[in-house]
Symmetry: C2
Subunit: 311 residues, 2 copies
């Protein structure tokens, strides 16, 4: 089933201890869409400026992403973010943010995008997320991301929007900030109480956890010896997660769990090179090989201890 | 097979946001021994003062721990540690440390303790760990713990001792400090190069990871809504890990993985009450029920994604 994503399409300038790029394709909808495209058909909704070139469009085309709803403002400039990472890749230092055409972004969904059964509201203004949610009334499974800034200045709006979706995909600091609850498990329960089916909490190098009504699932991060560029890892995770779900008839506990693993698989590739470079070049055997690696690194035999028979 | 542990036996004074205790049984050998005693026969090697009373000895007796090698210094006082935890339970604030009889601790192993096939060198001076290791030449599997202080002031001694054992069980900060390598996976590889069979890295609320020559295994922490007192969690983990291994004929990749889970199970109980209170009162059905919970919370079906057949 098709999947619509609404979010930023951007140019990023990045500095990491391993190198730098002055202007590469980025943005939440980009990373999400690319990742999800390996699993299902993706419609991207966003806005770019006249500086968005053939090379950038080609990335979307290569992955069969429908870009009809990416508005082009010919005399505007594409959203630009400049960031630096130190050796501690968990922390991004923002050097520059130019919203440009993104500042007045008013998502318009075509009939095609509106008919999607799966919808991801990437991190944009809560009011815009809400407006998009209302344009896709028949969606079967809707997830959203948010950010610390909205939680700081308009938490009520964020909560109102959360109540209109099925799933939230945020990081641990955001979960704590949203609920003012330091314990992650209590925080997740509080968020579930907004009426969600699933709460996904991303924990960077420590993996990710899924809370549902009856269950708890934890998946570690893939053991990478070097993280090259973490930009977009969270959106790439969400893309793998939502894309995998959209590829299946029903959202069940079992598909949610495998979606968590495929999300982790995609995120682990994303950080291996700058920007979209690695995911852009992925193939299915690589993806499934890493899925298998996740199984291997988490498996243990379900043999309860019996003192009498051992010793 | 029997298991010998050398380490501190102590009184702790603890303050957490949930309550306080002025003088309760603690120490690495205590927490380790109690935890391991559910899986195998344990010999404890340590030293206490004349203030160590019937109530304390009774805890060891209840779990059939051999205390013949716990020396008693009648006119001395038992090692005393006072600590406080804030809501962030990952950080212990030491308020007072009185080494007392522990300051001149010279471990003496009886023939019984020396004949153990499994040996755990809890966090004591590296030179003492080395000396104990040499007293148990026929041990089949020896593990050690250490601490930031020794890594700071006598790293060479720590490394020399590591080279004499099969396994190290430390936390992530210690692994980074030991190797001066921020990436945990690179750090683990560097430690493996000292000739170890296994490197176990404890990550508190994020679980624990096992590195072996050919494999990597990660287990999350049990999702606790409240951590009451984290004191001794690491030693309780090590006790479950080593005790489980000692209960089996051979140390294999499969038993190491299950040992990681049983270590995590025991640690998850330890933090639910003050000091040894919870583990002291455990029974096998509880232990195996939580083991099963770890299986449930990490399991996913090993079904590779095939785009053609889904959609």
């Amino acid at each position: 089933m098709s999947l619509t994503v609404v979010g930023s399409v951007a140019f990023d300038a990045l500095e990491t201890p391993f190198g730098k790029r002055d202007k590469i394709l980025g943005g939440a909808a980009t990373h999400f869409g690319l990742s999800a495209s390996f699993f299902t058909q993706v419609n991207a909704v966003g806005v770019v400026g006249g500086d968005f070139g053939d090379e950038e469009w080609a990335v979307f085309k290569r992955h069969n992403i429908n870009t009809d709803d990416i508005q082009i403002v010919p005399d505007g400039k594409t959203f630009f973010w400049k960031g630096r990472y130190e050796y501690d890749m968990n922390v991004a230092h923002t050097l520059d943010t130019q919203l440009n055409v993104f500042e007045t972004f008013a998502p318009k969904l075509s009939e095609n995008s509106k008919s999607a059964k799966f919808l991801f509201l990437a991190n944009i203004l809560p009011a815009l997320q809400k407006q998009v949610r209302q344009q896709v009334p028949d969606a079967e499974f809707v997830a959203l991301d948010t950010m610390n800034l909205w939680l700081e200045i308009m938490k009520d709006d964020v909560i109102e929007t959360i109540k209109m979706v099925d799933c939230i995909i945020i990081n641990d600091a955001e979960a704590r900030q949203l609920t003012e609850e330091p314990n992650l498990h209590k925080a997740a329960k509080k968020i579930m109480d907004y009426g969600l089916r699933a709460v996904v909490i991303k924990r960077g190098e420590y993996g990710a956890t899924l809370f549902t009504k009856d269950g708890y699932f934890a998946v570690p991060a893939y053991p990478l010896e070097s993280v090259f560029d973490p930009t977009g890892a969270g959106d790439t995770f969400a893309g793998g997660f939502m894309g995998y779900l959209a590829a299946h008839k029903e959202v069940t506990d079992a598909t949610l769990r495998r979606a968590m693993v495929y999300g982790s698989v995609m995120a682990s590739f994303n950080v291996e090179k700058f920007g979209t470079e690695r995911v852009d070049a992925l193939d299915y055997p690589e993806i499934n090989e890493r899925f298998k690696a996740f199984k291997t690194m988490t498996h243990f035999d379900d043999i309860p201890f019996e003192r009498a028979t051992t010793a």
